[in-house]
């Protein structure tokens, strides 16, 4: 009996919980009988059963609901696999040398050459992976899947998100076009601002005192060796920890058994549908739209405006408003520390498996998002006027570093106190408000950076 029919019957009261529970047990017994009688066929089962081993035999019906997870984790995995394949194939055509890298990319797009299509797939999958893994990160947080057994997995996931961003960054350095050259210049200078370790680290990555072939080969090794290796290890750990947490997050149903169904076909078919549709969409899109490639790297002439890849425009916008040490070090470290620490704070996660903790939380989320957008735009405009009037670098460490930090932290503390005591939101809901405030502010800064900045990075309208 298909699972939709079963759950429908259950909701209609035609069959009771016990029947579904039996169905579940039946599946387990059948499966194990089958295994015992057919253990001689182990060889034949090898590849498929190994792959199925990622999943348990049965999963709770609740976790199959598309609107619980939106299949984001599965999509991310699909994209990682696609990136591995196209990445390996691209290594055949690409030459990591500053004299030849750009030309080797151009050559991919000459007649009767499939390498260009592969590069397109790699490029668009990478961009898509940034979006998907960011949404996955939000989904996990907003459905409260970070506490208890999932605590460690949240941390693994944060590192994976970091790897995704760094992979995308190191990837767009490789073509050695204008975007690549100025991105690596800015990045290495940014690292130089980190107290104590900054300068030696930048020197190490640069492979000398000036940017050159050593820099490119270093980032090539990082992009095609170190990062995929770390990502593979962490992805395996991520999956294992999901199983240890007994599958996807789900609402605490109180009494009674959770209704489970066999993974095959219920989950596998759903995963295949999502994954294959995604692959088809990306392959088709890549056949039509070429991955961008700017002019060959010209040291000494920055493009005007010189913008980073879209997913770093939030950071670039932040760099325009804050003292470099604060934009590069202080604020990111504080945010990262909070993200890592949230699951260790008692009751700071939302109730499991319910988006925004229900209707009240959803309303709070909307209010916080609107507030965040308003305040971010206001801050950008005020700073834009203020820098033109004051513009003194002598006091920058205070006016553009300490002062914004104090305002930022006191706003969060005040918001926390107000929401918990005055409006009696739970701690989980209040922490969610703080999380959304920062996430929405970063999205807002990204939008401003991408569309509302013109030559000289001056504010302007895109139309």
């Amino acid at each position: 009996m298909p699972i939709e029919m079963l759950t429908y019957f259950h909701h209609q009261g035609i069959i009771d919980s016990q029947t579904i529970y039996l169905y579940d047990i039946n599946a387990i017994i059948q499966k194990s009988l089958h295994m015992n009688s057919a253990h001689t066929r182990a060889k034949k089962q090898f590849p498929s059963d190994l792959l199925l081993h990622v999943h348990p035999r049965t999963v709770p019906v609740e976790t199959l609901r598309f609107t619980l997870s939106f299949g984001l984790g599965g999509m991310a995995t699909t994209l990682v696999l696609l990136l591995f394949i196209t990445g390996i194939l691209q290594k055949v055509s690409y030459i990591p040398d500053i004299q030849r890298a750009y030309h080797s990319i151009q050559f991919m797009y000459t007649d009767s050459n499939f390498a260009g299509w592969l590069r397109n797939i790699h490029y668009w999958s990478g961009n898509m992976l940034v979006i998907i893994s960011f949404l996955h990160f939000c989904r996990v947080f907003l459905t409260g899947a970070i506490a208890g057994r999932r605590r460690l997995n949240w941390i693994v996931g944060l590192f994976l998100l970091g790897l995704v961003f760094f992979s995308n960054f190191s990837g767009y350095l490789l073509p050695w076009d204008q975007l690549a050259y100025w991105a690596v210049t800015i990045f290495l200078n940014m690292i130089g601002y980190i107290p104590f370790i900054g300068q030696p680290l930048a020197q190490l990555l640069r492979g000398g005192s000036e940017i050159g072939t050593e820099t490119l080969t270093n980032f090539y090794a990082i992009h095609t060796g170190l990062l995929p290796f770390l990502m593979l290890l962490l992805v395996i750990g991520h999956f294992w920890l999901i199983r240890k947490a007994r599958g996807l997050v789900q609402q605490q149903s109180g009494k009674g058994p959770t209704f489970s169904v066999p993974v095959m076909p219920n989950l596998i078919v759903r995963e295949a549908a999502v994954g294959l549709s995604l692959i088809a969409a990306i392959l088709l899109f890549s056949a039509i739209v070429d991955a961008p490639l700017s002019g060959a790297a010209t040291p000494g002439v920055s493009p005007n405006p010189a913008k980073a890849a879209w997913f770093f425009m939030g950071l670039q916008e932040l760099l325009m408003h804050l003292h470099p040490v604060f934009a590069i070090c202080v604020f990111p470290v504080i945010v990262l520390f909070c993200l890592l620490a949230i699951p260790f704070w008692q009751n700071s996660a939302l109730n499991e498996g319910i988006w925004f903790n229900g209707e009240r939380g959803r309303k709070l989320a909307i209010v916080v998002s609107i507030t965040s957008i308003t305040l971010t735009i206001a801050a950008v405009l005020i700073d834009n006027v203020a820098t033109n009037i004051i513009g003194s670098p002598a006091t920058a460490l205070f006016t553009r570093g300490v002062l914004p930090l104090v305002i930022f932290l006191s706003c969060h503390c005040l918001g926390y106190a107000l929401l918990t005591s005055r409006y009696s939101y739970t701690r989980g809901e209040t922490v969610m408000a703080g999380f959304l405030f920062i996430v929405v502010a970063m999205i807002c800064l990204t939008v401003i950076g991408v569309w509302f900045r013109g030559p000289g990075m001056q504010l302007m309208f895109p139309f």
């Binding site: 579940d24 047990i25 387990i28 348990p56 035999r57 049965t58 100025w182 210049t185 800015i186 290495l188 200078n189 940014m190 020197q203 190490l204 990555l205 640069r206 492979g207 000398g208 005192s209 000036e210 050159g212 050593e214 080969t217 270093n218 007994r246 959770t258 489970s260 040291p299 000494g300 002439v301 920055s302 493009p303 005007n304 405006p305 010189a306 670039q316 760099l319 325009m320 408003h321 804050l322 003292h323 470099p324 934009a327 820098t387 033109n388 513009g391 670098p393 920058a396 460490l397 553009r400 030559p455 000289g456 990075m457 001056q458």
Partner: protein, 172 residues
């Protein structure tokens, strides 16, 4: 589902001193191996650096004659990758075109009469001072020398700025 099939409880081996000793030994050996690997990786990365470390060398460029430059103007020198600024009082400055914020190349905006960085919007005056942040330091300058009306710039070195951080102009 997990409740139906309980795993048999494995009894843990008693926590003897010897076991603890070996566990600590393993951890110690592991850390040493990790340190060794890190040291190895860093020395490999460093080996590439030494090939190109030549240090600062003098590279003197003839930038032109004093009378060729109008008062209060900025001329880009493509060969030496710097800007020659002729200030209002007739003194000269050889400004590096690298932004002191994050290293972009700063173009001279003739209309606005200032340098505007295309990456993060810092702007600098004709004397190299910061007009608007995020840059925190003035533009660097190269040592400049005027002999018999000819301007020589040493692009291989950077000049020490004045005490207030401003570049040091040279009188003709």
């Amino acid at each position: 589902m997990d409740n139906t099939l309980q795993r048999p409880q494995v009894e843990h081996a008693p926590d003897t001193g010897r076991r603890r000793f070996f566990n600590k030994l393993w951890a110690l050996l592991g850390s040493i191996a990790f340190l060794e690997l890190s040291w190895l990786s860093i020395s490999i990365l460093r080996s590439g650096k030494n090939k190109h470390e030549t240090g600062a060398q003098d590279a003197i460029i003839k930038a032109g004659n004093v009378e060729d430059f109008a008062i209060n103007s900025v001329t880009a020198n493509a060969r030496g990758q710097f800007y020659l600024a002729c200030l209002e009082d007739g003194s000269f400055l050889a400004l590096s075109r690298t932004c002191t914020h994050l290293g972009c190349s700063v173009p001279w905006d003739e209309e606005a009469h200032k340098f505007i960085c295309p990456c993060h919007g810092s702007s600098f005056s004709i004397t190299g001072e910061v007009l608007t942040p995020p840059a925190t330091r003035s533009l660097n300058s190269h040592p400049l020398r005027i002999e018999n009306g000819t301007i020589y710039v040493n692009t291989g070195r950077l000049e020490k700025p004045l005490q207030d951080g401003k570049p040091r102009p040279v009188k003709a």
